[in-house]
């Protein structure tokens, strides 16, 4: 039946290029490699989950992406979400903060506090987390180009509030290599950026060993046009590049690999996604053990946040995005994600409203409380289809990783713009397929309604908030010890010029209330700025 489809039954090939059969049996599992990479949850190669009991012991952390205006506005929204049962925070920063600019920089005009919270100095970070118990609520900072500075501010704030930094948990995105492929908040050239990521990993391994200084993102590579197998394979190549950078400094793999975490996209075919995550857990464990020689099981864990998938959501009929979000949460739960952040239904229009965020939070709570998703580990394990596809997805990811290595490695391919050009060509073909109806999107190229535009409430942008932020920065500049700031910034310059770890100097500068823009300028005065390659071949 599988090999001779009737002519009126169309072939199906998933996004990663794997042909899908109408029926799977034990023979398919055996032919795809059998159960050699299956094992039990909590045991190498962790295909079925990184912990033996998974959600039976503790459901996933719920961590909606939040931040707007200034630190006080965002602090209030944090407290609203915690009061509604959210168990972690996922902080959105405005673009000036992400690009290493102060709120009073001319390039920041019109952008202060628009797509996230504006942070200029440690003062803002103190306000943002005021009254929040950082032992109970773990915080994820969605920050990349300026991540070293924001990590330093977060650790300094926690220390001053009396938390034990050695025991502090939390995550920074801090994945600069993917910023060159998608998302675009790079600041420094590729090589010094990679060293800066290495500085944060090395520093945290010594000073904040429970803190996850990097969350490697397949997510944005997928958003930029990669297929699911490429998404995960490229993320593993990038994570390996960070590991190489830290190993080069003599830090043993088992001292930091356990604190590497990941962020993946969820939109697409349900079974392909579940297979992607199961396959990825096995492949990452294999890479960390065989290539990097790790011995500790925790070093091999693919710890991840999932649930978002902006490209899956539609501008048309936005209420359907609530339904899509529910399926994304289901896929994340079936895939064994440690943390979920669902895209909100209004995200194709605006930064999410309080109402939209509550719907996303309740969606996850429904799965936990009503649908039995936490009762048993890896509930799709043993399905002939899912096991076969898991084996095939892992083979495809391994092929892509080997191909990247054969072409000289991910750092070179990103520096030259080769990966960017490849995924953007794929995004173009996808858009053409959607417009021609070959790739179906409900509400976009089929099942359209004539109901007109939906009434989505826009998050208002408050110019007064931006002015208040500029005033707060001016106030900090007036009241801080200018001599201490100057010396601290000189320390940052010297550390960058000497090629030593810059984190101790950056921590010193933030404690003196040097600003994001000032510390960034100290670094660029030594390492320069990135220049974007523009390529449009396939």
């Amino acid at each position: 039946m599988n090999d001779r489809l009737p002519p009126d039954v169309a072939p199906v090939i998933n996004e990663s290029g794997i042909p899908i059969r109408p029926l799977y049996t034990a023979d398919d599992v055996a032919a795809s490699g059998g159960q050699s990479m299956l094992g039990l949850p909590g045991e190498y190669p962790f295909t079925r989950g990184i912990h033996p009991l998974m959600y039976r012991r503790q459901p996933w952390t719920m961590r909606q992406y939040t931040g707007f205006g200034n630190a006080s506005d965002t602090n209030a929204r944090f407290k609203y979400l915690i009061a509604n049962g959210q168990t972690g925070l996922n902080v959105a920063f405005d673009l000036p903060t992400q690009c290493g600019l102060d709120s009073d920089d001319p390039l920041a005009e019109g952008e202060v506090g628009r797509v996230g919270m504006a942070i200029d100095t440690l003062r803002d970070v103190e306000i943002a987390f005021d009254g929040i118990d950082l032992d109970r609520i773990t915080v994820s900072l969605t920050i990349n180009g300026s991540a070293a500075i924001l990590i330093a501010m977060y650790l300094a704030m926690a220390e001053r509030r009396g938390f034990d930094v050695k025991a502090l948990r939390g995550t920074a995105q801090n994945d600069i290599l993917k910023e060159y492929i998608g998302r675009g908040t790079w600041i420094f050239p590729v090589e010094p950026s990679l060293r800066l990521v290495g500085d944060t990993i090395e520093y945290c391994a010594q000073h904040a060993p429970k803190y996850s200084p990097v969350s490697v993102c397949g997510y944005h590579i997928r958003e930029s046009g990669a297929n699911p197998a490429q998404e995960m394979a490229y993320a593993f190549c990038i994570a390996s590049a960070y590991a190489d950078e830290v190993l080069r400094r003599g830090v043993p793999i088992d001292e930091f690999a356990g604190r590497l975490s990941f962020n993946f996209n969820i939109y697409g075919n349900l079974f392909e996604q579940v297979a992607k995550f199961r396959a990825g857990r096995g492949l990452w464990a294999k890479i960390v053990r065989e290539r990097f020689g790790a011995r500790k099981p925790g070093s091999m864990w693919l710890r991840m946040i999932a649930g978002g998938g902006g490209s899956g959501l539609t501008f048309e009929q936005p209420e359907l995005n609530i339904v899509r979000g529910a399926y994304y949460a289901l896929i994340s739960a079936l895939s064994g994600a440690q943390t979920m952040a669902l895209c909100c239904y209004d995200e194709a229009y605006t930064i999410p409203s309080e109402y939209a965020q509550r719907i996303s939070l309740r969606t996850m709570q429904l799965l936990i409380e009503e649908m039995g998703l936490c009762d048993t580990v890896d509930p799709l394990g043993g399905s002939y289809y899912v096991e076969t596809l898991t084996n095939q997805m892992r083979d495809e990811m391994e092929r892509i990783v080997a191909d990247v290595d054969a072409r000289g490695g991910i750092v070179g391919l990103i520096s030259s713009g080769a990966i960017q050009s490849q995924v953007s060509a794929q995004a173009y073909r996808r858009q053409r397929d959607i417009e021609a109806g070959r790739f179906r999107k409900v509400g976009v190229n089929c099942y359209r309604t004539d109901a007109g535009e939906q009434d989505v409430e826009f998050h208002p942008y408050d110019e007064a908030d931006a002015r208040a932020q500029v005033e707060r920065l001016a106030d900090v500049r007036r009241t801080r010890d200018a001599g201490a700031v100057g010396r601290a910034l000189e320390d940052v310059r010297r550390a960058a010029a000497d090629g030593v770890n810059t984190m101790p100097a950056i921590v010193g500068a933030v404690k003196a209330y040097a600003s994001v823009g000032e510390i960034t300028a100290a670094l660029t005065s030594v390492v320069g700025r990135y220049r974007e390659p523009v390529r449009f071949e396939d």
Binding site: L95, P96, Q98, C99, L101, L107, A108, E109, G110, E111, R114, V115, E179, G182, R183, G184, T185, E223, S224, G225, T314, F315, E316, A348, Y349, T350, S424, A425, A427, Y428, Q431, R432, E435, V444, E453, F458, Y461, E532, V534, F536
Partner: protein
Amino acid sequence: MSATARVRPIRVVLAKPGLDGHDQGAKVVVRAMMEAGMEVIYTGLRQTPEAVARIALEEDVDVIALSSMAGSHLAFCRRLKPLLEDAGLGDRLWIIGGNLPKQDHDALRALGFKGVFQTGSRLDDITGFIERDAGAATPAAGEGALP
């Protein structure tokens, strides 16, 4: 003016204004324009209004196109308009696409952005609009233009 009467392909500068890093859509549109036979100068990210006006002038483009996803389109376009006019580019076709709330469309048109393309616009609609409107607007398309 039909496209066949042109003595050179339509030249477009496509810019990413401000700090917004979402360039997937912009790059998709660049490819559609190239496939439609246009010459496209893609600026990359983080362009100031001054940079957009300078590149448009230096490259002698027929079309100035912006792709904005992060909400700062009105502030940017208000600063860009006088710069383009001072550079003598007021007669070129100005268009903008991206995440542009419906309530801002009239303001963008009033600023001189003749084409406003919301998220979800079809690629052929964008290139078709340019072929119609830049065909009429471009000085190089008229009789007596330089070879």
